[in-house]
Amino acid sequence: MTYNDCSIMSEDPTDHRQTITRTLSILENINDATPISKIKLQRLRIFWIRPVRNYEFKPLKRKYRQCFIKEKEIFDNCFDSSVVLEMSRGRLNLHHQSGIMDISQLQKDYRVFKMKAVTSKVFIFLSTTISSTDVVEYSRKSFEEFLLNSFEICQTHSDGFEKIMEEVI
């Protein structure tokens, strides 16, 4: 058996520090069983979901497209009804994708999401990805630093995005 990469996914995480600790523990177990070689890509991707009430899907999608695809020039590209933005911060790359999602898409793509507790039918989604392509030796400490640093960037980006959404919509 051979392998080139390793992905660990947590759905509905309640505590990001706990999720990072659990991810690192799983990687330690993998490293014990099959030593991890040099790494050419480290990546953290976080999906944010925000329920929107008192707004129908189509009008909100139209407004989002109008604001972020037709009027704003800060976004690099659009894919279907979502916008894409690429940025660099030091040796890290940030990829932003956001858009409007209805409940059926949400149920399909986020099966663990607690739907019973949510009454909204429309959601704003945001995916932020931080990646580094430096070739490095794997170590728990350095990957933990990467995850904590990347999470902070994702959180700051998410807060900024939330403010923009509140002003625009």
Binding site: M1, N4, E11, A33, T34, I36, K40, R43, I46, V52
Partner: protein, 63 residues
């Protein structure tokens, strides 16, 4: 008026890509057990017919 609730993290993904293909000599089942992502009792369930009979004499009796 639009009402927006708090933004929640729905999914948290990490990925590592290795610069060289890693060959694993440990049997796949042992790796999965070590990683601990699945219930070991489920993995230990024998799948081949007749494998539940661990007693060699009983095995011979059914052949």
């Amino acid at each position: 008026m639009i009402i927006i609730a708090n933004m929640d993290i729905s999914r948290f993904e990490t990925k590592l890509e290795f610069s060289e293909e890693t060959r694993v000599i440990t049997p796949a089942q042992a790796v999965i057990q070590r990683i601990g992502t699945k219930d070991i009792s489920e993995l230990e369930k024998p799948h081949e017919p007749g494998a539940r009979i661990r007693d060699e004499k009983l095995k011979l009796a059914i052949l």
